[in-house]
Amino acid sequence: MSSFDELIKSMISGDRRALGKIITLMENDSSSSAYIIPRIHNLTGNAHIVGITGPPGSGKSSIVDKLVSCYRKDGLKVGVIAIDPTSPFTGGAILGDRIRMKQHYTDRDVFIRSMATRGNLGGLSEATGNTIKALDAFGKDVIIIETVGAGQVEVDIVKVADTVIVVSVPSMGDSVQTLKAGIMEIGDIFAVNKADIEGVEKCILEIRMMLELSEKKEGWIQPIIKTYGNKDEGANKLYEAIKEHNKYLIESGHNEKKRIIRGKTELVNILQNLFIRNLYKTISEEEMEELAKKIANREKDPYMIIEELIPRLKKFV
């Protein structure tokens, strides 16, 4: 593991390639994460984590690009994690979000990493949480996460981000859409992008009505901000709103609460993965197949089988 230690050392001292490699290691292999995270955990917890979510083509990447410019103007160091979907058929992916962020390619204080979902549901990839930690330990002041184009239930971003921005565009559906549960519930800030096209006022009205009906977030009124794709207009207002929300989180003590919830999510996720890995070590693929057949031909029901398996599963907890 000594090569790991060297990589971690280089990363902490600011080596961009070492950071890139550490992210790859954690993405490919959870035992690497189990080695790396304990060695960087104490260096994390300093960055403000901003999540951006919304439907495909709503302009998330362009908004990220603009926000990066705002942060850089204030001299802050930025990490970006841009997530795109993995093909369910071939396992491949085209990672193209960074195309919108070209102007920051050679800025040494901006680190952009594209990630594929690799089968993870919820809008993020399995390694997103650990990648946030790596960027945090690397010394980024702010980490922006762009989710995959989200529909209604890709809401995992709320578990990792301090501030969540939900991007909408006009003419995406009637007011029933904003009544539905899911993505519209998780926004701390709403951005109505492409606000120069028709229907923008109606869109804003519907979001406002939805917010008025929903449970209030203690002491925070979610702002709705018009943005205009890659134009500066609107992006500055959005930037101000993010800073305002961060201030609110710190002053109200919500920051602390969010971090505790996040710690819990991390624990549960790691335990879940550990359990599943050990499950497949204990029960072979063939045995699993045999058991499945019994369920299929109604010889046994799933609960009956689990009852029988439990003694064998107990030993790895």
Binding site: I23, D29, T90, G92, Y105
Partner: protein, 133 residues
């Protein structure tokens, strides 16, 4: 479950504005189960190398139709060396005359794919290259 995936950078350096070829290759690699990072048009060698470091790619493919291949390949290779990343192999595609091939090979371009190449050839070449390292 986490698993190792090949990560490929497909980049368009220089000033030509045609990326149909680059996109066809990107799509073929995607369909072969790889993760493809595409930079978009008109990138500088500096931005390509920086992207390769951040994305930790296994191999870089440069698509050049402008005629400036001798200059651009050299520049990217030099910058990779400067960053201590010369272990990342480079291949190329586009309109590149036979006469320039020896020079490109000499400076370290592993392989050039010209017009008419089948995408399967590129896929199997990448698999072979990345297996070695």
């Amino acid at each position: 479950m986490p698993e190792k995936k090949l990560r490929i950078l497909i980049a368009k350096p220089g000033l030509d504005g045609h990326d149909r070829g680059a996109k066809v290759v990107a799509r073929a690699l995607r369909d072969a189960g790889m993760e493809v990072i595409y930079t978009g048009l008109r990138q500088t060698p500096e931005s390509i190398v920086e992207t390769a470091l951040q994305e930790d790619v296994d191999i870089i493919g440069l698509s050049i139709l402008s005629g400036a291949h001798n200059y651009l390949f050299k520049k990217v290779i030099d910058l990779l060396k400067k960053e201590g990343a010369e272990d990342i192999p480079i291949f190329g595609g586009g309109i590149i005359p036979e006469d320039d091939m020896p020079y490109l090979k000499e400076i370290g371009v592993k392989r050039i794919f010209g017009p008419g190449t089948s995408t399967e050839d590129i896929v199997s070449y990448i698999k072979e290259m990345t297996n070695k390292s």
